[in-house]
Subunit: 521 residues, 2 copies
């Protein structure tokens, strides 16, 4: 049904609600302009006398654990998404809650996946009031149609940490699915039949939730070494037969793009990084696990080898290609936020240079700095970019909300943010007059690489100068747009939107940068 | 001159003040009886826009860092004690504060050492109002005489975490001396010219202080791997020529006792652990770095080898002897709270089974359990034990406050707490009618091992039964006391105390278990 809300225009010129799911919200004020006040959230003080002296916190079932955590209607239940589409825990949790007759719960995952489609039924039945967290696939479609009782609140990985840390989202019960755990609740993601690499997305939940339940299918004798989640923050441990489907948690092999256009874009991106003088000894970069970003890393690796250049660190989403670079000595470290394939998991387990991180170290805007701004360059995707270099990752040009933000917004703070994107997809131009949804302000986006040329943000005179004589196809963004529009027969007609809000996009500081409106049927 | 305070009798029958340094304090209520209320302390929310995007937080001097941290009169300055008697940082910090004209500061170290004697001058001059933290050597003597403006507040390692976490002690500025750090403030203790092993005692300071300053003499390129303190909690980094005296931070070699009596006590202790059935495959133990505890570990090692028994983990204070056990495969892990010698430091750096911990994991009573109660046995020292097995570690029988608590109180929660102690020292009997200062209640102390026999707490019928036919010299504590008293010519005459309080001893839950009174001159 969407919500008809009082809207105000924020600094980016976007209309946003001042109340989001009953909470006063602050319109975006510009990058680095919102000054937070007050103190971090403070979980309740607990005492050892209320926990078994043996250290054994195992209880018999999810139901028993939830009861001991004083589950009640209206509470917020959280989880991390390191199991991706192979998660076998959260549907069981909400099925259990449904059987217990609980209602109006808020589900607060770090992301949802197609495997979570059963949550739609729980929303229909009132077990779940609404979901806050990245909505992918059919859950995104459901929310796009305004069927959810509350607004979708899309946050970056860093924004999720910030929201919990700052007390904007209070987690009553956190569920930590853990590939290996001990009975005290210490746990790790790097081993066990459901190994997922690391558990960094669940760290903030374990620190700030009132109650924390660890769910594992691989209980080891205390102590579980290494641990990324500390048992001292855990209330109960539940052992299930199987908590994840390994094939869907991590890919056995990573999928490289085979599209000649995308391979060309990836190669151009690597050439640009070299030409701009970024690829120097001791530099750092981040590239995601998308097909083009992966191909970029492979091209860059070759250029690094040719030039005899070694990176100090790679920020990842790790894949076998980055692992190979670590093992070949092309980087001192991988600072990893999530592992995308089995080689990433193996390397994290075995290589002391492959470090697990969390959104706190990497992305949280309300810390004393974070790693994102230290990176020399980052290579990201986008669904749309406009002539002011503003970009969108959450909606398509048809207005459907189909993707989460991930670490995308947080990464924009790198010293050189590059978006390698095809100039059109399915005959839909990617460079538009104005993005459907503003997710990243253009002032943070430095370079767009398409198969029709490279557009540099005019703000970055240094990059323009550095690459002037590179022989690379540097062009104006307007030129590329015109060429594509002419080819596909003019710019795409925009969908018509209602004035009903179905979701909001938070900026990294918790302010609201844009709204997602319901599309007219 | 000591303080005449309103005193009440606590559950242990000890007279304690209800106000400690201007803060309402709760008298000890019994083990596990005090129920904490409310929420943990919450540090202020900070934002990345106030920190350099380069990640480089290095400032030119301690003075500049302190100014940027808005240093003011009356503030609390904290530090960790991993540099022990080799610390070259804190005297510089307080000399700087003295030159800046600051007054009435509270120094909140995790422990002080003889090298900190210059702090007496700062107390005389009003730069430091008082010290809260373990007082050793001349600072202990100074406080014992009632010369400090505030009361000494003696806390265990776990109690210090609890006090900060619960907001009882608010740290304005934390100083983290770091053997290796990067310019962002990530730091580690396991390498560098001033390597001290780990930085666990400083972790709570970094999490809860308003401002955090890292001081290093070994700045490495970002990222400093591994890190135990996270740069995301650090405001400024200061680089000094030399922050520690390596010879005094860790011993080159560990000193084993050569006293035949103490060697015998250590051997008896190991035999007891075996006879009681504790030394089983997968068991765990903790032994400190004192001469007797070290010797115990060596005897136990031989018994383990003979029996083909392997430990699951050793909690430490690590030394070369424990490192050898790890390397020989006699234990899966060392869970280490502080490294006492160079071999401990090397092992922590090189061996993935040698894990750094913090008082949070090991000792904090106001967490969801801690590691201490999981241990099968712990071997500790004491200055006095009474007939009810109550024990003292902070004062001598002459009433002088000369030692800190360390992790001693926290360790008492192990499944079998053993105190191997000589029955007299310098002709002063160690078993007394009533301890001068109550630091550990007898109900948590299971066994006393002396050169005249082993006394088992009557509460522990299981241990009495298990060792009945062991051939070990099991005796009643009263018998041993009588024998010693007769030998040295009757029990020691007690010193006469004034009614002026010079310090208090906190229990692990923050309540006051005893007072230290000024001795009549």
């Amino acid at each position: 049904m969407g919500q008809k809300l009082k809207l105000v225009k924020n600094t980016a010129g976007r209309m946003v609600p001042t109340m989001v799911n009953g909470v006063q919200s602050i319109p975006f004020k510009g990058i680095g302009k919102y000054i937070p006040k007050g103190s971090k959230a403070a979980p309740p003080i607990r005492a050892c006398q209320d926990f078994p002296t043996s250290g054994d916190k195992v209880v018999s079932s999810l139901k028993e654990a939830l009861e001991k955590c004083k589950i009640n209607n209206g509470m917020t239940i959280s989880n991390h998404h390191h199991f991706r589409n192979g998660d076998l825990v959260m549907n069981q949790v909400f099925n259990t809650l449904s059987k217990m007759g609980k209602k109006n719960l808020r589900w607060f995952p770090s992301a949802s996946f197609p495997c979570h489609e059963p949550m739609i039924q729980h929303m229909e039945n009132g077990v779940i009031h609404h979901i806050e967290g990245s909505l992918n696939g059919s859950l995104g479609e459901y929310a796009s149609k305004g069927k959810m009782n509350g607004l979708a609140v899309l946050r970056s990985h860093g924004g999720r940490w910030q929201a919990v840390q700052d007390g904007e989202v209070h987690i009553d019960i956190a569920i930590i699915a853990a590939p290996t755990a001990d009975s005290f609740g210490n746990c790790t993601g790097d081993r066990g039949p459901s190994a997922c690499g690391l558990l960094g997305f669940g760290l903030v939940d374990s620190l700030y939730a009132d109650y924390v339940i660890v769910v594992t299918d691989n209980l080891v004798k205390f102590p579980c070494i290494p641990w990324q989640i500390q048992g001292n923050n855990v209330d109960h441990v539940v052992v299930l037969d199987k908590i994840g489907d390994p094939d869907k948690i991590v890919s056995g092999t990573t999928r490289l793009t085979k599209s000649p256009d995308r391979l060309y874009i990836a190669e151009l991106t690597a050439e640009f990084v070299k030409a701009a003088g970024i690829m120097q000894d001791g530099f750092s970069f981040q590239a995601g696990a998308g097909g083009t970003a992966l191909a970029f890393a492979i091209y860059l690796r070759e250029l690094m080898k040719e030039a005899g250049v070694k990176a100090r660190f790679i920020r990842a989403g790790s894949t076998k290609y980055l692992v190979e670079m670590l093992e070949e000595g092309l980087t001192d470290y991988i600072l990893d936020g999530q592992t995308f394939d089995l080689e990433g998991v193996r390397s994290m387990r075995e290589n002391s240079g492959h470090i697990n991180t969390s959104p706190f170290t990497s992305y949280n805007w309300h810390g004393k700095g974070n790693f994102a701004s230290i990176l020399d360059t980052v290579v990201l995707g986008a669904t749309e970019v406009d002539l002011n270099f503003n970009a969108n990752v959450v909606t398509h040009s048809d207005g459907q909300m189909l993707h989460g933000i991930g670490g995308w917004q947080n990464c924009l703070f790198s010293k050189c943010t590059i978006l390698p994107i095809p100039s059109f997809r399915n005959r839909i131009p990617i460079i538009v007059d104005e993005v459907t949804t503003l997710v990243g302000p253009g002032e943070l986006i430095d370079v767009i690489v398409t198969e029709r040329g490279i557009a540099i943000n005019p703000k970055r005179e240094d990059l323009i100068k550095a690459t002037k004589r590179s022989g690379l196809p540097i062009r104006k963004i307007e030129e590329i747009k015109k060429e594509v529009d002419e080819m596909v027969g003019g710019p795409l007609e925009k969908p018509e939107f209602t004035n009903e809000v179905v979701g909001v996009v938070k900026w990294v500081d918790g302010t609201v940068i844009d709204s997602i409106f319901k599309v007219k049927q």
